[in-house]
């Protein structure tokens, strides 16, 4: 069987997190009663005119900068014309030949190193207005179709990658990193269920044959409702295209670009009507809107205001805080609020590794157990920092630190008062020695067993020690007992 390489490019549509629509003042809130968030402008009524939402442009420029895109000084709005019931004006205001941002890149990596880190080129990211939502009564065949125009005019940023991805893992990593970036920038909530992030994939194969490399016709996959669906659809489509090539031998250029829809239940892509593909959108500049000019000053200001990107934060964590790349990745993936929390904890305790462990493990575990969001965590960063510092100073035995941690969350008290309530304090070394001597005297058999090489016999004493003094550190008890027996 010949070798082949899968060539993948992704088009990601993200709804920008503006309060109002791209060209009118209507709310963009999701989930309202159908057709309640509309006005003459987004309904496309006769005579209504668009007015650009500068906030949407600001968010788009910010995203462009974060993707290392060029931001041209002059861009414009174009009308993309087609008829569809969820497009009330008969055209979509979009950007055709002069996108707001272009020629950028995004680095992708894999914690498990299943592929080498690489840079994915971004072709362009342009702004456009979303269409409405149609729901069809398809079962009946000719039932009523319903149109909800609440979504019409919501700002969408279409981010198009070059065909630089080579398999579903890379595609997934690209989507994860892009989503993380958009989330850190705060430009979108990236909620796929609510349609704030949508993905289309373009895929074909480069097949090695004795006669040289052969490319298969490009297929666009739509209806990808989750990142998992993207992975599955790409894997399926690569295999399907290979089979099709074996059967038909059709190469790129010998068949038109087709569109296939992903059926998540069937686990298959299915051909969609290709009629729309040949549509001529008759793009032309929208005469109702002025061109958008971005001055060097505006650009400098946007650059200065650009928050650190996930990649920069991971680098900072490994370089300044000496975290492992894996830990840095896990921490950054938890999101900006958690990361800020981490920085605050470190500022208090000075121990990044411990802070990272507490945050990525204990806090995540307890949130999951308590079924709470991070935002609901009843533990200010200073208090966790204090807890970590107390452990480091030996004032709080490691063995009881989790107990204190949980009690702090339960009560909302700080570490000191919780320790007081639980009667936890540092135990004097002489006190511990006396305790061990007492235990050894009372348990001659344990002493004999240890002398005969059965060190695990100490375990029985540790339980008793904890009963007599809950603050006793089991590891230290063990060490002291072994030392004392050796001297016997």
């Amino acid at each position: 069987m010949p070798d082949y390489t899968t060539i993948i490019g992704l088009e990601v549509h993200v709804q920008l997190a503006t309060h109002s629509k791209l060209f009118c003042g209507c709310s963009t809130r999701f989930g309202a009663e159908p057709n309640t968030q509309t006005c003459p402008v987004c309904l496309g009524l006769p005579g209504a005119l668009p007015v650009m939402n500068a906030e949407a442009v600001r968010l788009a420029v910010m995203t462009g900068l974060a993707l290392d895109c060029e931001i041209p000084a002059y861009t414009k709005w174009d009308r993309k014309q087609y008829f569809y019931p969820d497009l009330p004006k008969g055209y979509q205001i979009s950007q055709y030949d002069l996108p707001l941002t272009q020629k950028g890149r995004l680095e992708i990596r894999d914690d498990k190193e299943r592929f080498a880190s690489k840079e994915v080129r971004i072709t362009r990211a342009h702004l456009e207005e979303d269409a409405g939502k149609s729901s069809h009564d398809e079962a009946a065949g000719k039932g009523d179709s319903l149109i909800d125009l609440n979504r019409t005019g919501t700002p969408l940023l279409e981010i198009v990658s070059e065909p630089d991805l080579r398999n579903s893992l890379e595609a997934r990593a690209y989507l994860d990193e892009l989503k993380l970036l958009l989330t850190y920038l705060g430009v979108s909530d990236c909620n796929m269920q609510e349609g704030s992030l949508r993905v289309d994939a373009n895929v074909n194969l480069h097949i090695e044959t004795p006669a040289g490399k052969v490319a298969t016709p490009i297929v666009e996959i739509k209806n990808l409702n989750s990142f998992r669906a993207v992975e599955r659809a790409l894997d399926y489509e690569a295999q399907r295209q290979f089979r099709e090539w074996e059967e038909t031998g059709k190469k790129l250029g010998e068949a038109p670009k087709t569109t296939r829809g992903w059926d998540d239940v069937a686990g298959k892509t299915k051909a969609q009507r290709s009629k729309e593909e040949s549509a001529d959108y008759r793009y032309f500049p929208d005469p109702d809107l002025a061109p958008v000019r971005t001055s060097p000053e505006q650009l400098a200001k946007a650059r200065a205001e650009l928050p650190p990107r996930p990649a920069e934060l991971r680098e900072q964590l490994t370089r300044e805080h000496k975290l492992s790349p894996y830990d840095a990745g896990v921490l950054v993936n938890l999101g900006r609020p958690v990361l800020d929390y981490f920085f605050a904890v470190v500022a208090k305790c000075g121990d990044a590794k411990a802070a990272c462990n507490w945050i990525t493990q204990d806090i995540q575990r307890t949130l999951k157990y308590r079924d709470r969001e991070f935002a609901e965590l009843n533990l200010p960063a200073e208090r966790l920092g204090e807890l970590i510092a107390l452990v480091a100073k030996g004032e709080l035995p490691t063995a009881r630190s989790r107990e204190v941690f949980e009690a702090m969350i339960d009560s909302g008290d700080d570490a000191h008062s919780v320790m007081q309530q639980l009667g936890i304090g540092a135990v004097d070394e002489s006190e511990l020695i006396a305790l061990c001597q007492e235990l050894l005297a009372a348990n001659p058999r344990v002493v004999d067993d240890v002398k005969n090489g059965k060190q695990q016999a100490i375990g029985a004493l540790i339980g008793q020690a904890k009963k007599k003094n809950p603050n006793a550190d089991p590891a230290r008890i063990r060490e002291l007992c072994l030392e004392l027996i050796a001297k016997m």
């Binding site: 003459p40 309904l43 496309g44 009524l45 006769p46 005579g47 209504a48 005119l49 668009p50 007015v51 650009m52 009308r79 014309q81 008829f83 019931p85 009330p88 004006k89 008969g90 055209y91 000719k142 149109i147 001529d280 008759r282 793009y283 032309f284 005469p287 109702d288 809107l289 002025a290």
Partner: protein
């Protein structure tokens, strides 16, 4: 002298002096409309009751000493292309025959705020496409000076109602000459403002980069008054110019000093009706007698104006009119009829044994679009949609649309150059007086050439005013136009007023 024979400025003085009430004035005009509009057909709808109620409210405000707007109590007719809340806004099209606007256009809102009395909605060419008002889906409008002739268009109703004294003030729109040409043919004054001077919000778009709303009236003074009420920046129109608008009515009577008027020799070449030429030259003489210097200027690209216009305007129209698809509002073809038609086509194909043809029959949705638009639009609108869609198609865009935009830039540059030498340019507004109804309606190309003298102002975005300069032997009005640099409406109005004043004396 009857009330309706007075100018709006004179009526305003009488209203302010409480010599006449707004209700009396409205009643006088409603009576005039009742007497005259049957033969003229300027109005699509007369909103008599609402007008009387508005007039009564103005009278009440005046009696109570409340502040009053600029046009308090003056009747204004509005072209049926500007949205007015709760009123039908048909654009003289079957497509919008039953469309009631849920919002006010900015111009209508400004008229209301100025306490104008909105007396009715005037006839027009469908979607403002045409130069004779014969493209109205509902009725022809006749020229008050000769009922066998056209009032011009597309604001034919707007001009005819002023000429027939059925309204003292009237709002029109001008995309390629649709205010100035009918004003010229009906013997009244019409101003096309600078692009962006008057808000287009709520003006049903024909060609967005060319459309402007403007005033029509029987005198330059009245035109200035109405212009003052409707001009100004509007944040809801992104193409509206963010500049302060002057108080035109306060300066219109100040003559311009050291006036330099440009004329273009080509404008007086073959094709210009001799009587018209004589009248326009007469207007030039008037300015000379007022001390103006006449300077020949060159507008070398003007001859490409009509060609560029009939690419750009249809391109934008084809896009602007896409929204009339029968889905959300406007005319929708009968769905059962569409279904039956499709079923019959499928059955017919199957009967022929042509399975492929049966499957290729278009979807109900596509046929519904096709039928609704076929039924809803008239021939001229369809023609322009087709021209525009063709010119914007892949492979033709550069040759037509982009080329036309280049011509447009050159025309603007011509004017910039000319206005560095002169203050105003004077030209004919039409080549001949009003033409017979039916004469041009079946000859689209001849009809398009009617716009010869007017389209360049729209392409360049500059203001222009059309005003009377005499009557033909057969009693038809003759007019001319003045053009000014962008935002120089004040200069335009003052210059026009000089001629009007001199001719009166």
């Amino acid at each position: 002298m009857a009330l309706v024979d007075l100018s709006a400025t004179e009526q305003r003085a009488k209203l302010n002096a409480r010599e006449v009430t707004a209700v009396e004035l409205a009643q006088a005009y409603l009576a005039r409309i009742a007497a005259k509009d049957g033969e003229i057909g300027a109005f699509l709808r007369v909103t008599g009751e609402a007008a009387l109620a508005q007039a009564a409210e103005v009278d009440r405000k005046r009696a109570a000493g409340e502040p009053l707007g600029l046009l308090a109590g003056l009747p204004v007719a509005v072209k049926d292309v500007l949205c007015q809340q709760g009123e039908l806004t048909t654009c003289a099209s079957r497509m919008l025959e039953h469309f009631r606007s849920p919002y006010d256009s900015t111009v209508v809102a400004k008229l209301k705020a100025a306490d104008a009395v909105l007396i009715g909605r005037t006839n027009m060419d469908e979607f403002a496409m045409g130069g004779s008002t014969e493209n109205s889906a509902f009725q022809p409008t006749r020229n008050p000076h000769d009922l066998t002739r056209s009032p011009g268009g597309s604001s034919g109703g707007a001009a005819a109602c002023v000429a027939a004294k059925m309204a003292p003030l009237s709002i029109g729109t001008d995309t390629g000459g649709s205010i100035r040409q009918p004003a010229g043919l009906c013997g009244c004054v019409g101003l096309k403002p600078t692009y962006g001077r008057v808000s287009r919000y709520g003006l049903v778009a024909f060609a967005s980069s060319l459309d402007q709303v403007g005033p029509l009236a029987s005198t330059v003074e009245d035109t200035a008054l109405l212009m003052e009420a409707i001009a100004g920046h509007d944040p809801r129109d992104s193409t509206s110019l963010p500049v302060e608008s002057p108080k035109f009515s306060q300066t219109v009577n100040q003559p311009l000093k050291d006036l330099r008027i440009g004329i273009v020799p080509e404008h007086f070449a073959a094709g210009l009706d001799p009587e018209m030429e004589a009248a326009v030259r007469g207007a030039i003489e008037v300015y000379k007698s007022l001390g103006a210097k006449i300077v020949e200027v060159d507008l070398p690209h003007g001859k490409y104006g009509v060609a560029a216009y009939y690419v750009i305007a249809p391109c934008e129209a084809s896009s602007n009119l896409s929204r009339y698809d029968g889905i959300h509002y406007g005319h929708r073809a009968s769905e059962p009829a569409v279904e039956a038609e499709l079923a019959a086509e499928r059955a017919e194909a199957l009967a022929r044994g042509d399975k492929a043809a049966a499957e290729a029959v278009e979807s109900t949705l596509v046929r519904l679009y096709r039928r609704s638009r076929t039924e809803g639009f008239g021939a001229e609108v369809k023609r322009r949609i087709m021209i525009g869609a063709y010119a914007l198609s892949a492979g033709y865009y550069d040759a037509y649309y982009l080329k036309a935009l280049k011509v447009r830039r050159l025309i603007r540059q011509d004017f910039d150059r000319a206005f560095s030498q002169v203050d105003l340019i004077l030209s004919p507004v039409t080549a001949a007086p009003a033409f017979k109804l039916g004469k041009l309606v079946d000859d689209p190309l001849q009809m398009y050439l009617v716009d010869l003298y007017t389209v360049t102002a729209n392409l360049a975005g500059i203001p222009a005013i059309s005003l009377p300069c005499g009557m033909s032997k057969s009693g038809l009005p003759l007019g001319f136009q003045l053009l000014a640099p962008p935002l120089e409406e004040e200069r335009l109005l003052r210059g026009a007023r000089m001629c009007e004043e001199k001719r009166k004396s």
